[in-house]
Amino acid sequence: MKPTPRDQNSCHGITRRSFLSDTGMGFTGLALGAMLFKDGIARADGSAWRPPDGRPHFAPRAKSVIWIFLCGGVSHLESFDVKPELNTFAGKSIADTPYKDVVKTEGKDVVGANPAHGNRKVLLPLQTGYKAYGKSGLVVGDWFQNVGECADDLAVVRSLWTIHNDHGAQLTWQTGRHPRELEHPTLGSWVAYGLGAMNENLPEYVVLGVPTGDCCGGAFTHGAAYLGPEYGGVRLNADSKKPLAFLKPPDAISYEEQAGNLGLLGKLNHLAGVDYPDDKNLRARIKSYEMAFQMQTSIPETLQFEKETPETRSLYGLDRRECKAFGEQCLVARRLVERGVRFVQLFHGGGGGGDWDAHSEIKSNHTKLAAEVDRPIAGLLKDLKQRGLLQDTLVVFGTEFGRSPGAEGTGRDHHPQAFCAWLAGAGIRGGTTYGATDEIGFHAAVDRRYVTDIHATVLHLLGLDSRALEIPGRKRLEMDHGAKIREILA
């Protein structure tokens, strides 16, 4: 959240008079939804480093991102990379199938399964049915039949791998780094840093749902690390009563009284600032108080999904017990991007290792959890589309790793060697699949991609060049930048 546009004009020409006229006397509100930062193309300038000016580096395809993350590791095998061969060879050891060689071809950068978990070599059959959807004929597991109906809007990437075999991979998905390296900027914070706000009354980067737990990255999964806290995700509860820490004044202070307090504050700050007309922090602070005051109303307003029509509410599944909670998050996500928020990060099943971590009873686990998210996510895609928002909004669906083709009792183990994700909306060629795993879904086999390639794709669609965002003294690795997946772009 930046209270001021990052103009690079030096302040030495500012006089007392211009200070007063620039910042206005007293407390002035800003209109909700004011589009202060219009997208435009930054001048190509290869000279010395400078901080981003809020404009994309090249023509963007997307303005906002909704970044959905399912904590615990969703089975790729039974969602968007269905493997019927698991039914054919169910109960057999991989060594006794025609695919015995796939296990041996360990990719050199891939972390193996946790040795403490033993070998998961006896194949577990698919725990749900599957069918093909749409013109594209995308095969989707029955757990995600509502999302399946949006098949022609999705571009599925089936060849992802990651570098941690435990839930620290949740952090890896957000930052690209191994959890032992702790805090690094998340994708959302790079977007906030690179592009800034489209609405001065709301944060640029909002987090909904219960994020990753302390075991597995915690606050780092929506932090900004060295970019600075103003670019970190602002956690909101999808609850208009208590959406943000310190958002509500103490009960003892009424709204009118607070407006009065801030009125006096504005006047006093102006008087005191006359001796320091070039003080950027003072100017920023005056604006930050204005925005904070706006947020006290703009955020609860944004969260008033009660005002949506019954049809819309039903589309997101708000009328169903099992998917009401996540449906509300998805609906709030739409309301946020509608109001110009850049990056909305949605967590499902957060805290601890993550709800999707189906080491046993994967059938009941994934049946229950998918019922919580399938309708809301499909509702979000359909709603964005019917409102014309999908052409400017990129929706990404991801998780930390896949699940093992081999059985762990009635469940599946962590599987960092292969998993899948999908993208939909702005700039995405719908109805495509990219990359492939082997026939039993053990390894990402064709067109292997690391998680930062998804980041690179998102940044590209937003018109950002991650190398141009780099900060001197904060050298990023080649791996951090990733490479965009050209084949799924429209």
Binding site: C11, N269, A272, N281
Partner: protein, 813 residues
């Protein structure tokens, strides 16, 4: 690529960066390229033109040599320094800087009235000897030295980063700064107190600097962090890159990295008992020690721990480019260090704990005798007491044996007698224990028997009862009863066999008692640590804390300058290498470094490595006393104030914001030291912020919002201005409670005069200055208007809240 290729490429990069730096130096008018890796040579203090009004320096009054260096750079650029700040601004600045709290109204008034020429200097001396100074500056050094409380999860059962009790290192920092312990001494204690002063529990706390790097999940990462941050904190060298390849910018090879790693390879962490509590989970001294006298350190190809080059065994050493040599002397440790459980206090505390158990057993027995306890219960308590007494006796004689052994009298007659005595008592303990076990097993057996009898009785009565239904094999009730009966029989059989085993065990223990005792007593099971330490870390610490080390004093002086001015002389305080940023005042920095190591200026020569001395020198300079007001002409020449033509306006650090809120409203609890306070109490605890828990994912939300330190790395704070800060200040209960306390404190029993004065007094107290007539008018008007809808004290509270949110409250001018 071959080694020679690599070297040639590295040389080329060196050459090119050297050229770039030289060009930069030429452009910025510096006389010569500054050489941070060359020893510090004390530069001559520039001679200034006299201080006439028409002189190029605009009548600059140098107060000490610092000003001469600053003025020389300004003169070159045609900058005219701002005048000295008004007294009330200067006093608030120096208070917040030196003790982290603003002056009280009385202190402001006293300073205002003091017209003596050394009024300011006397304030500085008083603040430097104020114990709150150590707390303030401890937090700065905690940033640089990466202080972290323990982190982990599962309710604290899994310690993943740092360790519990590490707050003792924080207290050591506070105490050391207050005592003005030499910086060289502090370095030695932090890196190697266990080798330098192994019996001094106070200085052992300092090794928390190393303990902090503990990482349960990866020893590799633990050592990597240790090397990386030790070199950045003390030497301003980014050694971390050399883990995988030769440093691209600085003359540090990958081999240098592993030689330095060998210095730390033997060390590990442990928690020693402390007097007063034998349970190290509850109270302990967490510290480092060498667990191995010569563990191998191999060169890791590309820094990959899976690819050690076992042909390249690395010898501990320091990078050659930094000069000096590592002089390693193995250290032989006193018994108290290798056997912490053998120290007097531990014996005392263990006996005291045994006495407490004994007293409890006696109390239970006498209480039972007065009550209606059964014979079985009474006997169990009697046997328990007997066992407790036997244990206490055996412990006492065991300690006698240990004392004789520690005195080198193993094998002596006295020892033999004590050892025999111990064996006898240990046998008596075994018998007492066997008796208690037997008694308990008999009681358990009787209980099982009783249950079986009761169940059988039920069965019998069930059979005799009039039959209402035909009993068949399918009868659920009967089947259930049969299973229950089988279960009970099994339990009874198990209890009987336990009893039989106990009978046998007692017989064996008694038989054993009748044999000749001998001297073969059972020693205590306690941790035993090596009796020697490699001395590698001590040698390394002495190499750092050495006046010949080119970087140590420069890096420290730069950090100190950064904290006083909000801007460092070398803007990259953790990187003095070629990838860092060149200094604005290289000669000033060298002079300060030299002054830190070998003080010469001032009336008395002073102690070397004294931080307080350097603080005094800096805050009494004219440069420090300047106003922070703008100047258009200067701003055109030097918009970033690189050459300090004015003081920088700054936002207080998170801790100062919270502490000041509590302090000006009269609520701050000035108790010093002690265990860290739960981070969830950030809004309600009244303690200073440096005592709040600070670890990965365990931070006070309020402090985090105000850019509190990042625990992983914080060589400089990055203050921001974000709306969350406005919300926290406007809406938190911390502010509301502070406002209420302030109104109470200023109400003076609710007199009309106090109410009249409130706006002026509150303004003075919160913002540290008198309001202007216009400001006072607005405040008065505000209260009058608010009184239309609220009580008088509510209106005053509202004004207090506004003042806490005032830009001038969080800003240091």
């Amino acid at each position: 690529m071959t080694t020679s290729h690599r070297r040639r490429r590295a040389l080329l990069v060196h050459f090119l960066t050297g050229v770039a730096l030289a060009l930069h130096a030429a452009a910025s008018g510096a006389a010569a390229v500054w050489q941070p890796f060359a020893p510090v040579a004390r530069p001559a203090v520039p001679i200034l033109a006299d201080s006439q009004a028409d002189s190029p320096t605009g009548g600059f009054q140098a107060r000490n040599p610092i000003d001469a260096f600053i003025a020389a750079e300004q003169h070159k650029r045609g900058l005219k320094p701002r005048p000295e700040a008004p007294k009330e601004i200067l006093l608030r600045r120096v208070y917040l800087d030196l003790i982290g709290l603003p002056p009280t109204t009385q202190e402001q008034a006293a300073f205002e009235e003091d017209r003596s020429t050394d009024a300011y200097e006397r304030v500085v001396d008083r603040l430097l000897s104020d114990p709150r100074h150590g707390e303030r500056w401890a937090r700065h050094w905690m940033d640089v030295w990466r202080y972290s409380d323990w982190a982990g999860w599962s309710g604290g059962n899994q310690i993943r980063d740092s360790k519990p009790h590490i707050w003792k290192w924080r207290d050591w920092i506070v105490e050391s700064l207050n005592a003005d312990k030499g910086y060289d001494r502090m370095i030695v204690e932090m890196l190697a107190a266990d080798e330098a002063t192994p019996e001094d529990a106070q200085s052992l706390r300092a090794t928390g600097f190393l303990v902090r790097n503990y990482k349960m999940l990866s020893r590799e990462q633990w050592l990597e962090d240790t090397l990386k941050h030790t070199s950045q904190a003390f030497l301003g060298v980014t050694l971390g890159c050399a883990k995988c390849h030769d440093h691209v910018y600085d003359p540090i090879s990958q081999a240098d990295y592993y030689q330095m790693r060998a210095i730390f390879e033997p060390h590990w962490v442990r928690t020693d008992p402390v007097p007063g509590d034998t349970n190290v989970l509850k109270a302990g001294l967490v510290r480092v020690f060498d667990t191995d006298t010569n563990p191998p350190t191999y060169f890791l190809n590309r820094g990959d721990e899976r690819k050690p080059d076992t042909n390249r065994l690395m010898v501990p050493n320091v990078p050659r480019a930094l000069g000096g040599a590592l002089e390693i002397q193995p250290v032989s440790l006193p018994a108290s260090a290798s056997r912490p459980d053998r120290r007097d206090f531990f014996h005392r505390d263990t006996l005291a704990a045994a006495d407490a158990v004994l007293a409890e057993a006696r109390g239970k027995l006498s209480a039972a005798r007065k009550s209606q306890a059964s014979d079985g219960e009474l006997k169990e308590l009697e046997l328990s007491l007997a066992l407790t007494e036997a244990r206490r006796g055996a412990l006492a004689t065991l300690f006698e044996v240990e004392a004789l052994e520690d005195a080198g009298k193993r094998g002596s007659e006295a020892w033999a007698a004590a050892a025999q005595n111990t064996v006898l008592r240990q046998r008596a303990t075994a018998v007492a224990e066997a008796r208690l076990t037997l008694h308990k097993s008999r009681l358990a057996e009787a209980e099982e028997q009783r249950k079986v009898d009761a169940e059988r009785a039920k069965l019998v009565s069930g059979t005799n009862a009039p039959q209402t239904a035909v009993t068949t094999n399918n009868d659920d009730g009967a089947a259930k009863r049969r299973t229950e009966d089988e279960k009970l029989s099994k339990s009874l059989a198990a209890a009987s066999s336990h009893r039989a085993a106990a009978v046998k065990a007692l017989a064996e223990a008694e038989a054993q008692s009748k044999t000749a005792p001998g001297t073969n007593y059972l020693p205590r099971t306690a941790e035993q640590y090596p009796a020697n330490s490699t001395g590698r870390r001590l040698a390394f610490a002495r190499w750092i804390a050495n006046t010949n080390n080119p970087l140590t004093a420069r890096v420290a002086a730069n950090q100190i300058w950064l904290k006083h001015f909000g801007q460092a002389i070398v803007p990259s305080p953790n990187d003095f290498g070629r990838n860092g940023k060149p200094p604005s005042h290289p000669e000033l920095l060298d002079w300060l470094a030299s002054e830190l190591m070998r003080p010469t200026s001032g009336a008395q020569p002073g102690e070397p490595w004294s931080m307080k001395r350097l603080h005094r020198l800096i805050v009494t300079s004219r440069a420090y006393r300047m106003a922070s007001t703008p100047d258009e002409n200067n701003a055109r020449i030097d918009p970033d104030n690189t050459y300090l033509w004015r003081m920088n306006s700054r936002r207080m650090e998170a801790e100062a914001v919270r502490d000041s809120l509590l302090y000006v409203s009269g609520g701050l609890d000035l108790e010093r030291g002690g265990p860290e306070i739960d981070n969830n109490l950030g809004l309600t605890s009244k303690r200073r912020s440096l005592y709040m828990r600070q670890a990965a994912e365990k931070e006070v939300e309020f402090l985090k919002i105000f850019d509190g330190p990042t625990v992983t790395e914080c060589y400089a704070r990055r203050p921001t201005v974000v709306p969350q800060q406005a919300l926290a200040m406007a809406n938190s209960e911390l502010t509301l409670n502070a406002a209420r306390s302030l109104v109470k404190a200023l109400s003076n029993g609710g007199t009309a005069a106090a109410a009249e004065d409130f706006p002026r007094d509150a303004f003075q107290r919160v913002l540290g200055r008198k309001p202007s007539p216009e400001e006072l008018r607005l405040c008065r008007e505000f209260i009058e208007v608010r009184k239309g809808s609220a009580s008088g004290s509510q209106a005053q509270e509202a004004l207090a809240i506004v003042l806490f949110n005032h830009n001038d409250f969080v800003t240091v001018r």
